[in-house]
């Protein structure tokens, strides 16, 4: 990764990114480069600054210091779906988009929500709202898709379905993805590259090369899981 020149062949490049809240330094001279089409999972303990980094990349935090360059468009799906409650699902997808309505319909179809296009967001189930939020991000055909724990509120079954959906959509549209998650297995199943944020920096950065679809008992994933859990300061389970 280090061989890559900043600004060349990257969708986002961050150098010395620092963010403090009062005395508390959350991001401490963090460096990160994201290549086009890369699927990255970002792990880290609660409060380690994952959301802070994501907000900086999304341009939502004006108080960060350091170099931050993002080329191309960015789309965000937040942890809570954040649909605009007074706009029907379709209108949420097309909000701020000047593209033909067919694109929005196509995006809804991709996440399996065609029938709910005219529903009010408050009537959607948690998983439906999450998928609508994903469609709203994807329809913008971003170069960089930021996902902040978008699956954490879902039940295990819906989660599996949406995991598959995200990988499919990523394979089709090829945005770079930065997925924040608490779940090591989720990271290993989905990403090309797994990062661990600790002490305000990227403390661990490893590629995942296993072919998709992946299974938890793939030997590469088992080794990586142990490494990641160690990096996260969790003792690996005694089994296996």
């Amino acid at each position: 990764m280090a061989a890559r020149l900043p600004g060349v062949d990257t969708v986002a490049s961050v150098r010395g990114l620092t963010r403090a809240f009062g005395d508390r330094v959350v991001l401490d001279a963090l460096d990160l480069e994201i290549g086009p089409g890369e699927f990255i999972a970002l792990l880290g303990r609660s409060g380690s600054g994952k959301s802070t980094l994501l907000r900086a990349l999304a341009g939502l935090d004006r108080e960060v210091t350091g170099e931050l360059s993002v080329t191309g468009s960015v789309a965000v799906a937040f942890q809570e779906p954040r649909l605009v409650p007074w706009k029907r699902v379709l209108a949420n997808i097309t909000l701020g988009l000047d593209a033909p309505a067919e694109r929005a319909h196509a995006a809804l179809a991709e996440v399996g929500l065609t029938e709910r296009a005219q529903a009010w967001p408050l009537t959607l189930s948690g998983g439906e709202a999450q998928r609508a939020s994903l469609a709203r991000a994807l329809v913008r055909e971003p170069g960089l898709l930021l996902l902040d724990e978008p699956f954490s509120a879902l039940d295990a079954l819906t989660r599996i379905t949406i995991h598959q959906l995200v990988v499919e959509l990523w394979a089709r549209h090829r945005p770079a993805v930065l997925l924040v998650t608490h779940d090591v297995d989720e990271a290993l199943l989905l990403a090309d590259r797994v990062l661990v944020l600790d002490e305000g920096r990227i403390a661990h950065d490893s590629p995942v090369t296993a072919p998709r679809p992946r299974h938890r008992d793939n030997p590469e994933l088992i080794t990586l899981r142990a490494d990641l859990l160690a990096a996260l300061g969790v003792a690996p389970e005694g089994r296996s």
Partner: protein, 274 residues
């Protein structure tokens, strides 16, 4: 308080348990006591226990109402009063909402407008009537202005609070969706403030009628208030009661109009009812 008031009916109204028999029984029981009071009132009047000088009999009031409508006195009076309230309401609502937008959408605007409004709001505006008479005479202007003033404050306060209460997370969404400032205001801020504005609208219509009644009591040569005052001179309690009934009917009418507006504009909240 406002949120509860608006949202409660959506979840509470039990649609799933239609019990027509019991509902009818309840409705019937609810009419019992008003009818009884009317009957006692009528008996008291007929037997001379309640002299018409103090309060006219229900039957007399009904006859007077019919007569006032036939002769065109009541329609004319209502027309004059309605005009006052509509003019005052339009002016007050425009001013209240405009000021709320100025204060709500920018910090300098807030600094310029809000302290003034908070100070003026403390004034007992019915106490302004003597000043208004000195400034504007006893014509239509002071009456319309009093209504406008009464309307402007609830709308200002609620719309301002509504704008400031818009979820900051949605503003972030707007930013990530690349909405410009105008689009942010149009798609996020104004619709987000609407529920609170409608609460203000209902409050302001309530005080609009109150302000009209007070203004018309003081000095009027036409309108409902004039009709009532004139009736007092001649001890016509029947006419007074008709006037009061018309005031309350008009108040109820405007209130139900706002409810209708609420139901249509806030249907996204009631999505659960389909």
């Amino acid at each position: 308080m406002s949120v509860i008031e608006l949202e409660a009916p959506a979840d509470v109204r039990p649609r799933s348990r239609p019990q027509p028999a019991r509902t009818w029984g309840k409705a019937w029981q609810r009419w019992l006591s008003p009818v009884a009071v009317l009957a006692i009132w009528q008996i008291a009047s007929s037997t001379g226990l309640l002299p018409p000088r103090l309060l006219a009999a229900p039957a007399t009031i009904a006859a007077t109402a019919a007569n006032l409508i036939e002769t065109g006195i009541l329609p004319t009076a209502v027309g004059v009063s309605l005009q006052r309230v509509l003019l005052g309401f339009a002016a007050g609502a425009a001013a209240g909402i405009l000021l709320a937008l100025v204060a709500g959408l920018s910090r300098p605007g807030e600094n310029a407008v809000d302290p003034l409004m908070q100070m003026l709001r403390a004034l007992p505006f019915f106490g302004l009537i003597p000043l208004f008479i000195l400034w504007f005479g006893i014509g239509e202007t002071p009456k319309v202005l009093l209504v406008a003033l009464a309307v402007a404050f609830p709308l200002y306060l609620n719309t301002f609070a509504g704008i400031r209460g818009v979820d900051g997370k949605l503003a972030e969404v707007a930013h990530t969706l690349k909405l410009g400032r105008a689009a942010l205001i149009r798609h996020i801020v104004l619709p987000g403030a609407l529920p609170q504005t409608l609460v203000g609208l209902r409050q302001s219509l309530g005080v609009a009628w109150l302000a009209l009644i007070v203004a018309e009591q003081v000095n009027a040569t036409a309108g409902l208030g004039y009709m009532i005052n004139d009736a007092r001179e001649f001890l016509r309690t029947d006419v007074i009661v008709v006037g009061l009934l018309v005031y309350s009917a008009l108040g109820l009418l405007t209130d139900s109009l706002v409810r209708l507006l609420e139901r249509r504009a806030l249907s996204w909240r009631r999505g659960f009812l389909g």
